[in-house]
């Protein structure tokens, strides 16, 4: 396996990457031994400060064009893995090298300010996703069209319903040109007609992006967007392969 020396090549390479969370306010007494449950990572209380080993021994090589689905139980480490791949968490042990512009879409609500107008929120969200002011100004009409919010865009965000907020956030997110796109599930709460429309936009976005990692519980959605998949369990990669194989063994295991 060779790492491309070409700097322009989009890729994510991790080697034996671990993510350990120190939990400063946990009473270490109540965590006397390492607890291993179905849900969550491993808790190691041997150290002075209890540590949650959220990810262990992650070795991955994702190149341009990769379309990877992430499956696993709640707390298996899907979201943490996405944050590792985004560069938000630098591995506590091991290495991670990320080449390319990362656009993480984990929580549609983050960075949204309820007191300012929808249009202002579009601008701020875009800037956070790495766009320039000019690029966002070019896209604002397209986003406004897509959201179907009309005059509401001039109203403060707090007057929006949950569904309207999701429309706005999805509109911005799907308008950008990411090199590495990291999607976390939970893009729900929209009506059926809008969902159909946003699906098309989402797939277009995925096609534009150089590299996709997508965490979801929906088989249908995963099969539509991804060709390979990673099965996470207890913070480790249990299986990494073609999407159908991984989904089959994951479902077989769960059932």
């Amino acid at each position: 396996m060779t790492v491309s020396s070409d700097d322009l090549q989009v890729s994510i390479t991790t080697k034996d990457a671990c993510v350990d969370f120190p939990i400063f306010d946990a009473k270490s007494r109540s965590l006397k031994k390492t607890v291993m449950g179905v849900v969550g990572g491993n808790i190691d209380s041997g150290a002075r400060v209890p540590i949650i080993e959220a990810l262990r021994g992650i070795t991955l090589q994702l190149e341009h064009g990769a379309r990877v689905g992430l499956v696993g139980h709640n707390g298996a480490g899907k979201s943490t893995l996405l944050r590792l791949l985004a560069g938000i968490y630098e591995p506590t042990r091991g290495t991670a090298a990320i080449r390319g512009r990362v656009a993480p879409v984990f929580d549609l609500g983050v960075g949204m300010d309820p007191e300012i107008s929808g249009l202002d929120n579009i601008m701020i969200r875009g800037l956070f996703l790495g766009m320039t002011r000019k690029q966002m100004e070019q896209r604002v009409d397209d986003i406004a069209d897509f959201t179907e919010l009309g005059d509401f865009l001039d109203m403060p965000l707090r007057t929006y319903s949950t569904g309207m907020r999701v429309r706005l956030a999805l509109g911005v997110v799907t308008s950008i040109d990411p090199e590495i796109l990291l999607l976390d599930e939970g893009i729900g709460a929209v009506d059926a007609a809008f969902l159909e429309k946003s699906r098309r936009r989402l797939s277009e976005l995925v096609e534009r992006s150089g590299l996709l990692v997508f965490a979801s519980h929906s088989d249908e959605f995963l099969r539509e967007l991804c060709d390979t998949a990673i099965w996470m369990e207890h913070g480790q990669i249990k299986q990494h392969g073609a999407i159908d194989d991984v989904l089959r063994s994951y479902k077989g295991h769960a059932g």
């Binding site: 938000i88 968490y89 512009r101 983050v110 701020i124």
Partner: protein
């Protein structure tokens, strides 16, 4: 054509506990000034949204406090109002900036935990945003200063322009203070209230409402003796360095020397902290 001027790339390109990674953080954060400049403005507009006067309230609040305290202390110290009030007003404006950088700096990462754990951006973005916001507050307060210059004419001359580099030095110090305190308080949450009380105490120990020179020249030798102790207070040097030119008083070199030494030492401390703990902040918030 991919540019490195983006958060995800550069922070990830040089990672780990190196000075290179720490400097990258500061550099790529600076490159994102469109983002933090916008957010800084937004913070100010946001605070006064739905109020009729908006950000003018910043200036009004400052003016009211300074005038009231000016009258009070002019009476207490038996000073001329035309001398006491400008002193207090300018002192307040400068102290507002200093205490803002310290108090808000100690919560800069804790307050932004949502953004830090959801979007890969250099840590310095949050620091730049904070200091920029404080700078905007300062600018709003300058309106009151200008009005004061009309009412109580000060003896300004060319050397008063040294207020500009003095303020820039204050900004450079605000950056390391917010960076350092931000990282430390994210790990040790008890530090935030401690810093809060220290700042409050420092307000009284620093010549803001009282005039340092008056005490130095006090006929009572024990007061003059004790006033000299105030020189040990680093805040005195920051305040005097900027206040003297703003009131048309002659500069004194020693304030600049003390401030420059603090700047160098502070940045060295902040950089080594950033190098060691930059990658830990997202784990700690």
């Amino acid at each position: 054509m991919r540019q490195v001027a983006w958060s995800g790339v550069a922070t990830a390109q040089r990672s780990g506990r190196t000075y290179g990674a720490a400097l990258d953080d500061l550099r790529t954060g600076w490159a994102q000034r469109e983002l933090w400049a916008h957010l800084g403005w937004q913070d100010i507009r946001q605070r006064y949204r739905r109020s009729v006067l908006g950000p003018i309230w910043i200036s009004i609040t400052m003016a009211v406090t300074a005038i009231a305290l000016g009258i009070l202390y002019a009476g207490l110290f038996e000073n001329d109002l035309s001398r006491q009030l400008p002193n207090i007003l300018v002192g307040f404006i400068i102290w507002g900036f200093i205490s803002g950088c310290i108090a808000e700096g100690s919560e800069v990462f804790i307050a932004n935990n949502g953004l830090i754990t959801h979007l890969p951006a250099p840590l310095s973005v949050h620091v730049y945003r904070l200091v920029w916001r404080q700078t905007l507050f300062f600018a709003h307060n300058l309106v009151v200063y200008v009005i004061m210059l009309v009412v109580f004419r000060q003896d300004l001359h060319w050397s008063s322009l040294s207020a500009i580099p003095a303020f820039l030095l204050l900004v450079v110090n605000g950056l390391w203070v917010a960076l350092l305190l931000g990282i430390v308080t994210t790990r040790f949450r008890d530090m935030a209230p401690i810093i809060g009380s220290v700042v409050q105490l420092a307000f009284f120990m620093t010549p803001i409402v009282w005039i340092y020179q008056d005490f130095l020249q006090s006929p009572n030798p024990s007061i003059a003796e004790r006033a000299r102790l105030a020189e040990l207070n680093p805040f005195l040097h920051f305040v005097e360095m900027l206040r003297r030119p703003m009131l048309g008083q002659p500069q004194e070199l020693r304030y600049w020397i003390v401030v420059l030494v603090i700047t160098v030492v502070g940045w060295a401390l902040a950089l080594s902290t950033l190098r060691r703990y930059r990658a830990r902040v997202s784990y700690w918030v």
